[in-house]
């Protein structure tokens, strides 16, 4: 009887303990949204990063968790809503979230603009959590990055498409289902085609930057633009982004401008004025991703033509022509340099491969972030020290200018070399300076511009002085 009782007790203890464990598993399981999946997912978890696909609610919760963990350095905001009303969420990481500190460059990552290209979306969620964790652990590289950059991460530009793609039953996801937005618009063909304009300007003369004049009016009145596209365009115009990457899937390469061929042919290397720095930027991503930069990697599909791929990078148009893409729109309508990164041969791979995609890409994602601190940067001010916004900074030999932001701050990405930089603004006298640029960090070059009127005043005063002197001498 005693033995029986003992056995009963033992079993009971086990039961109670297990129940207690289940209940009290609060502190055991950070970051796993659905308790039903908790046991399986705990195997795939690392430091709060759960390597699983996040639907819209889980995406939101993951970002909220990062914010809750790192309230001092993060902020969540939305740039607008998708066609079906889902918020286009962005998490911002910086030492002073919500604020543009003069001189601090702005960076963005955008993923999942094709809803069925899912790896980018997940990687960006993992990245947000990773940056928060590493910051709190005191990882010097990450701390420095967050203190010196304003990092914006938008895991999904097309949440509607993702839901459609993710809702497919079975293991194989269709190559096209969920690609476009809820209206059936392919967002990466939906941007105003500025390439065509710049090609004309190259031949016939015209501006080489900020080609979309009367921007607000055009964007708001254009009925062909999807709400997601409009939201991104406003975002680009509001924040002086310097560097960006646009994450896709279906192949494994880092793609840079121009995406559209000059002559209109199917493939043709079409370099932009900043071809040198773009190659360097693309390499900065691909070289840290082992499969991407593997020269002996076979193409994703047997008959693929990857002849344009060099070291895991390719010129967009050399690979195949894309009109109306977001990458070129960034370059030609703003100061932002953007590349397109194709992360996976399979657009929507199985969930258990996500961890290895993270391992392959985490160093690339950080390395690419660091590229923003290259070239030349500084302030354009007048002689009284007031900032001059919208001043033009041009580089001799590169037919693409950048402009200064509201605080007079500018950033000009350049590969190492010797350059002549000229800062000019309407009503001011231009100044040219010589700069020697290393690989990194960025060289600081400030400009103090003298306005015409001021010079006129000075000349007038000089004249008056001379006249006075003359009249005194000659007894007028």
């Amino acid at each position: 009887m005693a033995a029986q009782g003992g056995r009963a007790l033992l079993a009971l203890c086990g039961a109670l303990v297990a129940c207690g464990w289940l209940l009290g598993a609060g502190a055991q399981d950070p970051g796993a949204p659905a308790a039903g999946m908790r046991r399986r997912r705990r195997l795939q978890q690392e430091d709060g990063i759960s390597f699983e696909y996040h639907r819209y609610p889980e995406l939101r919760e993951a970002l909220v968790s990062v914010w809750l963990q790192c309230t001092a350095i993060s902020r969540i905001y939305t740039v607008g809503r998708s066609f079906e009303g889902r918020e286009l969420l962005v998490i911002e990481l910086s030492d002073n979230p919500g604020v543009h500190e003069p001189g601090e460059p702005e960076f963005k990552y955008i993923g999942n603009m094709h809803g069925n290209e899912a790896v980018g979306r997940e990687l960006l969620i993992f990245l947000a959590q990773y940056l928060c964790n590493e910051y709190q652990k005191g990882n010097e590289t990450i701390v420095k990055l967050i203190h010196s950059t304003r990092i914006h991460i938008m895991p999904s530009l097309n949440p509607d498409g993702f839901e459609k793609a993710a809702s497919q039953p079975g293991e194989l996801k269709d190559w096209f289902v969920g690609r476009s937005n809820a209206q059936g618009i392919d967002l990466n063909r939906n941007f105003p085609d500025l390439d065509r304009i710049v090609y004309v300007n190259e031949k016939e003369g015209g501006p080489n930057n900020h080609l979309l004049k009367n921007l607000k009016k055009i964007v708001d009145q254009n009925t062909k633009l999807a709400p997601e596209t409009k939201a991104v365009i406003h975002w680009i115009m509001d924040i002086p982004f310097v560097l960006s990457a646009n994450l896709h899937g279906g192949d494994l390469v880092a793609n840079y401008p121009y995406d559209e061929t000059r002559t209109g042919s199917a493939h043709e290397y079409s370099s932009c004025p900043d071809d040198a720095i773009f190659q360097s930027l693309a390499r900065a991503y691909s070289s840290f991703n082992p499969p991407m930069s593997d020269p002996n990697r076979p193409p994703c599909r047997k008959n693929d033509d990857d002849s344009s791929f060099i070291d895991g990078t390719t010129n967009g148009a050399a690979w195949y022509s894309v009109p109306g893409g977001m990458q070129d729109f960034n370059y030609l309508s703003s100061n932002c340099f953007e590349i397109t990164v194709e992360l996976s041969c399979e657009k929507f791979p199985p969930e258990d491969t996500l961890k290895s995609y993270w391992e392959d890409n985490k160093n690339s994602l950080v390395s690419y972030l660091e590229q923003i601190h290259r070239g030349v940067k500084g302030f354009v001010r007048d002689l009284q020290g007031n900032p001059i916004a919208n001043a033009t900074i041009s580089v001799e030999g590169i037919d693409h200018d950048v402009t200064s932001a509201k605080d007079g701050d500018y950033w000009r990405l350049l590969v190492p070399g010797n350059y002549k930089l000229t800062a000019s603004a309407p009503g001011y006298l231009a100044i040219t300076k010589k700069v020697a640029v290393p690989y990194s960090p960025a060289v600081g070059v400030d400009f103090e511009l003298e306005s015409f009127s001021q010079r006129k005043e000075e000349e007038k005063e000089e004249l008056m002085e001379w006249w006075k002197m003359m009249s005194e001498t000659l007894n007028f």
Binding site: A2, A3, G5, G6, L9, L10, A11, L12, C13, G14, A15, L16, V17, A18, C19, G20, W21, L23, G24, A25, G26, Q28, D29, P30, A32, P33, A35, G36, M37, R38, R39, R40, R42, G48, E52, Y53, V64, S65, L68, Q69, C70, T71, T78, E87, L89, H114, Q136, Q168, P169, G170, E171, L172, W175, R179, D251, R301, N303, Y320, P350, E351
Partner: protein, 469 residues
């Protein structure tokens, strides 16, 4: 990616040779072996903890003194002690940082957040329970030579402290805090006071013999003891009242104190606490059925485990994860399960002899894993239906999600607070202002709700968590 792939997508399908897992569905059935493996991998740790408790009890079991009473008194005092050591710590902190104006508030909050974190840490099975309990123990559970304290030692400690401080208020502070937390009942407070008074008397008389300056003060202290106790007692509400009052932490803990009563001394069971035990009749019956001399250890463990579970429920109520009503229902369900389990187990034939009480779980694990799993699944289902009485569609999935989400948020907030504390210490700034943080979070949470980034419920949960720190 374009139309280039229209012709070749078939190729894609054909070339897919690697095994692909199903897209995750809630409650995926493919994962059974993992499921089992986890449970059996987890339980040994918890049994280890239980074993450690049992060992402690074994070691400090004083054979010559009143056996039945001191068993329960030890378990009682063990938990009491935890709270006491934290109070001691709090008081030490209070004494050392007298200067800044925010001190009292901060210290209380510091003490509170430490206390909460300790609870969480204690029940975090990712940490080894053993090492955690022993390492994180600056002045409480062990004597200098590392042996655990006995019940007598604890009472001794309190008495010495009162004597040294020459302040009866020490005892009052400790007791009222314990009462508020629901760790002891009124009657236990009385008994504790008696014990402390006894020890104090001995101390005083001893000291009076050696030093002749002290005779007057201690006697006045002892005399005033009897008068003060009645004032300090917190009114005990019935469980019904407590839960209808709802969110008040104090009330909740008071009412749950009634349920804690069952772990205390046997002689009190029959007299004062019968109305408390009516909520746990099966558990009580089980305890009674155990031969108290032979299987005292199991009894102790059982009680500890029960206490643990009750604390879980308390914590969850405190954090607002579940409402008090749900907490009660859960405990009631637990009691029913105990009845069921007992019945099932007693019906089976046991061949195992009276070797060790907690043998290596290998032979037993299979059977127990199965029954545990069943029970666990049953628990989850019951809990799920409890939480989700108002929703019709997809009850199971939805109830598990909010639980997991709140846990995730809790964990994130905990990490944030930890980092803020560490960060401020390093930077030699003033101690971070929790109230400022709280305001900031409240503000941000509201802003996020407006923008559609957070649900109202989530924002409330977050605000609640911060306000409970």
């Amino acid at each position: 990616m374009g139309f280039l792939w229209t012709g070749t997508w078939i190729l894609v399908l054909v070339l897919q040779s690697s095994p692909i897992q199903a897209f995750p569905k809630p409650g995926g059935s493919q994962e059974k072996p993992l499921h089992n493996r986890e449970l059996s991998a987890e339980r040994p740790l918890n049994e280890q903890i239980a074993e450690a408790e049992a060992d402690k009890i074994k070691k400090t079991y004083p054979p010559e003194n009143k056996p039945g009473e001191s068993n329960y008194s030890f378990v009682d005092n063990l938990n009491l002690l935890k709270a006491i050591t934290e109070k001691e710590k709090t008081e030490k902190e209070r004494q050392s940082i007298r200067s800044s104006p925010y001190d009292n508030k901060l210290n209380e909050e510091d003490a509170d957040s430490t206390k909460n974190r300790r609870l969480i840490d204690d029940y975090d099975s990712t940490k080894s329970g053993l090492s955690h309990k022993f390492q994180d123990d600056p002045d409480g559970l062990h004597q200098l030579d590392g042996t655990p304290l006995t019940a007598e030692d604890i009472v001794q400690k309190i008495a010495i402290r009162i004597y040294e401080e020459n302040d009866r208020g020490v005892f009052d502070k400790i007791v009222s805090k314990l009462l508020n937390l629901g760790l002891i009942t009124e009657s236990q407070a009385h008994t504790l006071e008696d014990e402390v008074a006894e020890v104090l008397q001995k101390l005083i008389s001893k000291e009076a013999n050696t030093y002749e300056e002290e005779p007057n003060k201690p006697t006045s202290v002892t005399e005033s003891q009897a008068g003060k106790i009645p004032e300090k007692v917190t009114p005990m509400a019935t469980i019904q009242d407590g839960f209808t009052n709802g969110q008040n932490d104090e009330t909740v803990s008071n009412t749950l104190t009634l349920t804690n009563g069952l772990e205390r001394r046997t002689k009190i069971y029959n007299e004062d606490n019968f109305e408390e035990l009516q909520y746990f009749p099966n558990f009580y019956a089980l305890l009674k059925s155990i031969d108290s001399e032979k299987e005292a250890k199991e009894k102790e463990t059982l009680i500890t485990i029960m206490k643990t579970l009750i604390d879980f429920v308390k914590m969850m109520v405190k954090y607002g994860t579940i409402s008090p009503e749900e907490g009660v229902s859960y405990l009631e369900n637990l009691d029913e399960t105990i009845a069921l389990q007992t019945k099932n187990k007693l019906e089976k034939n046991v061949t195992d002899n009276k070797s060790k009480l907690f043998p290596a779980p290998s032979e037993k694990s299979h059977e127990e894993t199965d029954s545990t799993k069943e029970e666990a699944a049953k628990m989850e289902k019951e809990y799920g239906t409890l939480k989700d009485s108002t929703k019709d569609d997809n009850p199971r999935g939805k109830t598990e999600e909010p639980k997991g989400k709140t846990e995730a948020y809790l964990e994130a907030i905990r990490k944030n607070i930890e980092w803020l504390k560490k960060h401020n210490k390093k930077g030699n700034k003033e101690d971070y202002d929790l109230s400022k943080m709280r305001d900031f979070i409240n503000q941000q949470a509201d802003a996020y709700v407006e923008k559609g980034i957070l649900d109202e419920e989530e924002a409330d949960a977050i605000k609640r968590i911060y306000s409970s720190l």
